[in-house]
Amino acid sequence: MSDIHKAIEAVWKIESTRLIAGIARVTRDIGIAEELAQDALVAALERWPEEGIPEKPAAWLMTAAKRRAIDSLRRGRMLEQKHGEIARELEYQQQRLGEAMDQALDQVIDDDVLRLIFTACHPVLTVEGRIALTLRLIGGLTTAEIARAFLVPEKTMGQRIFRAKRTLAEAHVPFEIPRGDELRRRLESVLSVVYLIFNEGYTATSGDTWMREELCNDALRLGRILASLLPGESEVHGLLALMELQASRTAARKGQNGKAVLLLEQDRSLWDYVQIQRGMAALHSAQELGGGAGSYTLQAAIVACHARARTAADTDWERIVLLYDALLQIRPSPVVGLNRAVAVGMAQGPNAGLAALDALDPDPALTGYHLLPSVRGDLLLKLGRFSEAREEIQRAIAMTENRREQELLSEKLKQIPETKQDA
């Protein structure tokens, strides 16, 4: 790609969200708004290489979009009504549309961007559709980039975005910010979309890793945008804190040959302490606003316990157990229960951990979940019950299809000593 194209792409990434949000205020349809914005980008790609990047690129793009909007209004009208008498009416409408877009350009307000986010994450869409639209409209990613990140063909992703836009239009989803209780409910959908994007990048074990890390950055950017637009919402800060704190370990998670390094074995000097500071600040805001009781805030508080510990041995496991207790109260989940059992094992010894594990409800979600025998194997190993530990780890290996996990478990298996007592 030439320098000018890279520069245009960078300008686009910065301006596109507000451009689409501003146009959508006029069109009330984010699908049409996005198409008009795309047309404006095409015009920029044609003209800027020769004319140079304009002094106010946002204004230029909005003007180009306005021209397109008026064109398509004219064309639509011409097809609809063939008689000449509508000419005056058409002229009036064109003028009004033009004025509305000029005004939208003058003040794309934060509310427009929020409307855009809530619409892209509307519950009427499939979760995949919400993710794709959010990355496209607010993240400024191209369809090809989103497709690469989610390991699907570009055509598939294009169809997914197209279907999502059609669904919104057909359901007549209004371009607005929900209010009251509705806001809380819809915000949950927005936050989960952002966290799904983050996790897709964070826990990925396959595919183009570079692109995957970019997804984490995109999710973080979305989180920061949300925090600046909804500064009074505790869980927005909680989610941002959770993502910042997890992302701060990125460099330490990658061992030699791309092997995963588990939290307690990580070289903590590789953690990004600037990011940890940001995470802690976000966690502080979340706790100030919401008393620390939200589920993202609690998860962030757990990660913060690790971030605060200079060495793995310094970890405040007692506090982590308490935080898991609180999390289980508001969001009971077998996986959280499993994590709590691990923390109990660290805080109070392997026997207590094993008891916590046995006390878990036999949840169907845990059957076939390889971490259950893996955790049990760990605890048994610490208790010196080697043959039982070996059985559990073997079971865990059989349960996972993830090659990296299998490697980690196989290494663990090799470390279990053979004892006479066992033999």
């Binding site: 520069a7 106010k56 989180g223 637009l229």
Partner: protein
Amino acid sequence: MPHYLVAIHLPDNYDPSAEGEAMVSDIDVLNEEMEAAGARFFAGGFGAPGNAKSLRRQSEGEVVITDGPYLEAKEHVGGFWILKAADMDEALAWGRKAVIACRAPVEVREFGRSSAQKLL
């Protein structure tokens, strides 16, 4: 995500009281945009360079303080942003906006990636 310094260069005889309302509001808008885009890490403006003090270690080990900026020049850094951006292109796109809003040339530099150069 790497950090970038966007430094605004102002002439030594710069008079901040002469900044027009339009300029102040342009810079406010830019700050809000950076904040909303999750790009703004830190920002600040300096007082007049004439009030700067420069410190140099003499060969005997003594540290000597002199009045004025370290380098004699017609322009000095008057203010700066520290931004988080995906790459230099994105930082330059912000730099472009800074040039327009501040009516002054800016310099964009990436913070180093080694642990000694990283922003802490």
